[in-house]
C-alpha cells in the first residue's frame, strides 16, 4: 500500500474516529460530574484516565498532534490523581471540564488549522499552564501564579482585563488606579469602564475601603504574563481575568459561523445587488405588517417582484439555490446510525424465518401444481396457516426494525448535568439535579430533535423557576433547589417531565402581560391551565426572557412548535410558590401512527387518532352556515368552527348525500373537519411528502393504504393555526357566543372552509 493510499484510508475512517472520540468525551464529562459527588472513588478515576488515554491513543494514530499534545497534559494530571498525589477538588473538576471542552474542539476541527483560532490557542495555553501548575512539584493553586505562557499575541488585537479589587486594597497601600496607569503603559486603551457600582452613598462611604473594579480593553503586543504582572502587588486582594480580544478577522469568522444554514432570499439578492438594502427593508416591513401567522403572510419573493421591482428570474434563481442547499442538508441528515448488534441479529433471524415461511408456501403450491394429489381444502388450510405465520413475522420484523432506531433518552439527559452545573454556578444558585428513567427508549431522530427544547426548558427552570438560596430560605425552603428530569412510557407514548421546586408560574403576572400584549382580550380570565399555557404563545416572551432563557434568542413558542412538529404535546402543572412541572408527551416513533381514515370525494385522508375527540354525523350534505356564510356548528352550547377539506383542497367530485364532522383537538383548541366517508382506525406508515408538495399547507405526510391508494396525513396543528389565522385570537372554550374577539375568530375560521 502506498503512503497516499494509506493516507486516504485514514481520512476515510476519520469520521468514525470523531464519532467514537465524541463518545469518549461524553463519558469523560459524565465521569467528572460523578466524581464531584464521589471524589474518593478510584474506579471512576481509573475510568476517567482510560477514556483520556483512549482519546490520546486514537488521535495519535490519525496524526492529530494537537489533540495528543493537549491530552497528554490532562492525562498527566489524571495519573497523579490516580496515584493519590493530588486530591480531587471542585476547582480541578472545573479545570478538567474546560479541558474536555478543549479536547472536543480539537477533535472537531481535525486538521483544519484555520479553525484553531488565536483565541482558542490562548485558552489552550492557559489550560496547559494551569494543568502544569498542579502537576509540577512546586505548583501553586491560583492562576495568578501561573508560569509565563508562550506568547500567543502575535496576531492579536489585544486584551480584555477585568479586575475586582478587595476591600483591603487601599489599606494595604495599593491603588487600582496605579494598576490601570501601569497597564496604560503596555498598550493603547480601547475602552475603560471604571466599575463604581459597589461604591455606597457618601454617608456609608469608608474612606479607605476599596469598592472599585474595572474592565479595560486595550490593543497591546504585551504577553499575557506581562499583563498579569501589573497585578503582582495586589494579587492577594484582587480577582482578575485576562482574556484575548477577538481580532476583526476572528469576529468576521464568528459572524460567518452564525449565519443561517440556509441563506435567506433577501440576503442573497442583496449580496448580488439585485435589491437595495432600503428596498429590502421596506418589503420586509410590508410583509410583517400584513399580520397573521407567518405562513399566511404574502411571500417575500412575490413582494420583491411587485414592490421592489426585482426580476422574477432572479427571485426564482435565489429560491432554487435555497432549495438545493436544503435538499443537500436533508440528504446529509442521519446518514449514520449506530445499532446494537443483538437487535440487528434479531431482525436478520426474523427475516430468515420469513424467507423460510415464504419458501414453505411456495413449496406447498408447487407440490399441488405438480401432483394435484393434495385436496384443495388442505391446500387452502395450509395457505391460510402460512399467511398467518407470515403476517406474524412481518409484524415482528416491523417492530424489531423500528426498534433499531430506538435509543435510551438517558444519553441526552446526561448532557444536561453539565449545563445545570455551569448555569447554576453562573446564576449563584444551588441546584440538585436528578435524572430518572434514563433507560426509557425513544426513536433516535426524536431524541435528537427533543434535545434543544429540553435544554431550553431546563435553562428556563434554572433561570426563572428556581430561586436564589437567600430567597428560598426566606420562603421556608431549603437553600438548595431541586430539578428533576424524568422519562417513562405511558399509554403508547413517552412522557418526559422537567420538574422543579421553584416559584412556579405567577398567573396574575402572566395574565396581565397577555392582556397588555393583546393575546387575551382585556378583562377575560381564562382557566388556570389556559393562563399557564400562555407562556408558550408567540410574542409572549419579554426581552429579558429571550436573553436569559436560552441564550439562543428563541422563545418558549419555539419550544412548543418544535414539540408539536414531533406530534407531541405540552402540559404545565404549576404550583405557585412551590414549583413547576412541564410534561412533554411524545409518540414513540415518527414512522408509524395510529390513524383515523376518512374520505372526501375520491380522496382519502388520515387523521392522527390521538387528536380525534368525537365524530358527529349529519343528514344534510354540508354543515350549517352562519349569517356571514361561514361554516360552524353548535356543539353542546359552544360554537365549533368547521374546516371543509372539499373547499380547502378544491375537491370537485360530486356532492355527497351526507357528511360527518370529525371533532379534533389541536394546541389552538377544538375544531371540526367536515368529511364524507368514515373508514375507521388504520395503522399508518408515514411517508414524507415529496419536494413538490412540501409547501402544501395542512398536510404533514402521506401513507400508502393496503389497497395501494395514497392517503394524505392531515396536520391537525397546522390546520388549526390556519383556522386561527387572525392576530391575537385563539380557539377557546367559551360556551356562550358573544361579540368577543375569541368568538369572532371562531366565526372567521369558516372563511377558509
Amino acid at each position: 500500500m502506498t503512503a497516499s493510499e494509506q493516507s486516504n484510508e485514514f481520512l476515510a475512517v476519520l469520521p468514525t474516529f470523531i464519532s467514537e472520540a465524541g463518545e469518549q468525551l461524553d463519558a469523560i464529562e459524565a465521569l467528572l460530574l460523578q466524581i464531584e459527588e464521589a471524589p474518593q472513588d478510584k474506579d471512576l478515576l481509573n475510568s476517567l484516565f482510560r477514556c483520556a488515554h483512549t482519546v490520546k491513543g486514537s488521535a495519535g494514530i490519525f496524526g492529530l498532534n494537537r489533540v495528543v499534545e493537549f491530552t497528554h497534559h490532562v492525562e498527566t494530571l489524571l495519573d497523579k490523581m490516580r496515584e493519590g498525589a493530588i486530591s480531587f477538588e471542585s476547582s480541578i473538576g472545573t479545570l478538567l471540564l474546560q479541558c474536555n471542552d478543549q479536547m472536543r474542539h480539537l477533535i472537531e476541527i481535525g486538521f483544519d488549522d484555520e479553525e484553531d483560532t488565536a483565541q482558542q490557542q490562548a485558552q489552550r495555553q492557559s489550560l496547559v499552564s494551569n494543568l502544569q501548575l498542579l502537576t509540577t512539584p512546586n505548583g501553586g493553586h491560583t492562576h495568578h501564579e501561573a508560569a509565563p505562557v508562550t506568547d500567543v499575541t502575535d496576531d492579536k488585537e489585544g486584551w480584555r482585563i477585568t479586575a475586582n479589587f478587595g476591600a483591603e486594597t487601599f489599606r494595604g497601600g495599593m491603588d487600582p488606579m496605579a494598576v490601570a496607569r501601569y497597564l496604560n503603559t503596555l498598550g493603547e486603551t480601547i475602552s475603560m469602564r471604571w466599575d463604581t457600582d459597589r461604591v455606597p452613598a457618601l454617608e456609608e462611604l469608608v474612606y479607605d475601603t476599596c469598592y472599585t473594579g474595572f474592565v479595560l480593553e486595550m490593543r497591546s503586543a504585551a504577553s499575557r504574563a506581562e499583563i498579569e504582572e501589573a497585578f503582582s502587588f495586589v494579587v492577594d486582594d484582587c480577582e482578575f481575568q485576562v482574556t484575548a480580544l477577538e481580532t476583526t478577522h476572528e469576529k468576521m469568522k464568528r459572524s460567518i459561523d452564525a449565519l443561517p444554514d440556509v441563506p435567506r432570499i433577501g440576503d442573497m439578492l442583496l449580496a448580488v445587488g439585485a435589491v437595495s438594502e432600503k428596498a429590502l427593508v421596506s418589503v420586509l416591513r410590508t410583509q410583517e405588517n400584513s399580520g397573521g401567522p407567518s405562513d399566511m403572510r404574502p411571500r417575500l419573493g412575490s413582494l420583491l417582484v411587485d414592490q421592489a421591482g426585482v426580476s422574477p428570474d432572479l427571485v426564482n434563481a435565489a429560491l432554487s439555490k435555497q432549495q438545493k442547499i436544503r435538499d443537500r442538508q436533508q440528504g446529509e441528515e442521519g446518514r449514520f446510525i449506530r445499532v446494537q448488534a443483538d437487535r440487528l441479529d434479531t431482525v436478520i433471524n426474523l427475516l430468515g424465518e420469513l424467507v423460510i415461511a415464504g419458501a414453505g408456501t411456495g413449496a406447498a403450491l408447487a407440490a399441488f401444481e405438480e401432483t394435484h394429489e393434495i385436496p384443495v381444502e388442505t391446500l387452502v388450510e395450509n395457505l391460510v396457516e402460512s399467511n398467518q405465520n407470515m403476517n406474524r413475522l412481518i409484524e415482528e420484523i416491523r417492530n424489531s426494525t423500528l426498534g433499531l432506531r430506538m435509543v435510551p433518552v438517558g444519553e441526552t439527559f446526561t448532557r444536561f448535568k453539565r449545563v445545570v452545573r455551569d448555569t447554576a454556578a453562573t446564576l449563584g444558585k444551588e441546584v440538585q439535579f436528578e435524572i430518572h428513567g434514563g433507560e426509557t427508549e425513544l426513536d433516535k431522530s426524536m431524541v435528537e430533535k427533543i434535545a434543544d427544547p429540553l435544554m431550553h426548558l431546563v435553562r428556563n427552570s434554572l433561570d426563572h423557576g428556581l430561586e436564589a438560596p437567600a430567597e428560598r430560605l426566606e420562603h421556608g425552603k431549603s437553600a438548595m433547589g431541586h430539578l428533576t428530569l424524568s422519562a417513562r412510557h405511558e399509554a403508547g407514548a413517552i412522557l418526559i417531565r422537567i420538574e422543579d421546586d421553584g416559584r412556579g408560574i405567577h398567573r396574575d403576572r402572566v395574565l396581565q402581560r397577555a392582556w397588555d400584549k393583546g393575546l387575551v382580550e382585556r378583562g377575560t380570565v381564562p382557566s388556570d391551565d389556559a393562563i399557564n399555557m400562555l407562556i408558550f404563545e408567540p410574542g409572549f416572551s419579554t426581552a429579558e426572557q429571550v436573553t436569559n432563557l436560552s441564550g439562543r434568542g428563541v422563545g418558549m413558542d419555539v419550544v412548543r412548535s418544535n414539540i408539536e412538529a414531533l406530534r407531541g404535546s405540552l402540559r404545565l402543572d404549576s404550583r405557585p410558590g412551590k414549583g413547576l412541572a412541564v410534561d412533554i408527551r411524545l409518540p414513540l416513533t415518527l414512522a408509524i401512527i395510529d390513524g383515523f381514515l376518512v374520505g372526501v370525494g375520491a380522496s382519502k385522508f388520515v387523521l392522527p387518532l390521538e387528536s380525534v375527540v368525537e365524530v358527529i354525523e349529519f343528514e344534510g350534505n354540508t354543515t350549517p352556515i352562519d349569517a356571514s356564510g361561514r361554516h360552524c356548528l353548535e356543539l353542546r352550547g359552544a360554537v365549533l368552527p368547521v374546516v371543509r377539506l372539499r373547499s380547502l383542497y378544491t375537491i370537485d367530485t360530486g356532492a355527497p348525500r351526507r357528511v360527518s364532522v370529525v371533532v379534533v383537538q389541536s394546541s389552538a383548541g377544538k375544531y371540526g373537519i367536515q368529511v364524507e366517508t368514515l373508514f375507521g382506525q388504520n395503522q399508518t406508515v408515514i411517508k414524507p411528502l415529496g419536494r413538490l408538495f412540501k409547501t402544501l399547507r395542512g398536510i404533514s405526510g402521506s401513507a400508502i393504504l393496503g389497497s395501494g391508494e395514497v392517503a394524505l396525513i392531515l396536520d391537525v396543528a397546522a390546520l388549526g393555526q390556519m383556522a386561527a389565522g387572525l392576530p391575537g385570537t385563539r380557539f377557546g372554550t367559551t360556551n356562550v357566543p358573544n361579540q368577543s374577539t375569541e368568538f369572532k375568530s371562531k366565526l372567521a375560521l369558516g372563511e377558509i372552509a
Binding site: 487601599f170 463604581t196 452613598a201 457618601l202 462611604l205
Partner: protein, 95 residues
C-alpha cells in the same frame, strides 16, 4: 447660595477622610441639596488616587448632580486613566 465645593490638594487616601467630612459638612450646611447642581472645583488637586475617585462616585450615589468647573492636570489625567472622560466634558454628572 454657594454651590461650589473645592476639592483638597491631597485628594488621595491621605486626604480622603478629611475630604469626605468636609463634603458632608458642606452638604449638611444646606449649601446644596439632592437635586441641586453642585459645582466641583478640582483646580487645586495635586495628588489623586482611587479613593478620590470613589468619593465623587459616592456623591453621585447619594443623589447629587454635579459638574466639574475647574480641574488640575493631575485630576484630568486621573479621569482619563479611569475612563471618566465624561467628568471632564462640559456636561454635568448626574446621580
Amino acid at each position: 447660595m454657594n454651590k461650589r465645593f473645592e476639592l483638597p490638594e491631597e485628594f488621595n487616601v491621605y486626604g480622603a477622610q478629611n475630604a469626605i467630612e468636609s463634603l458632608k459638612l458642606w452638604l449638611g450646611q444646606g449649601e446644596a441639596g439632592p437635586g441641586d447642581h453642585i459645582e466641583i472645583d478640582a483646580g487645586k488637586v495635586m495628588e489623586i488616587d482611587g479613593t478620590g475617585i470613589q468619593i465623587l462616585a459616592a456623591l453621585s450615589q447619594s443623589g447629587y448632580r454635579w459638574k466639574l468647573v475647574e480641574a488640575s492636570a493631575k485630576f484630568i489625567n486621573a479621569c482619563l486613566v479611569t475612563g471618566h472622560q465624561d467628568w471632564i466634558s462640559t456636561s454635568e454628572v448626574s446621580a
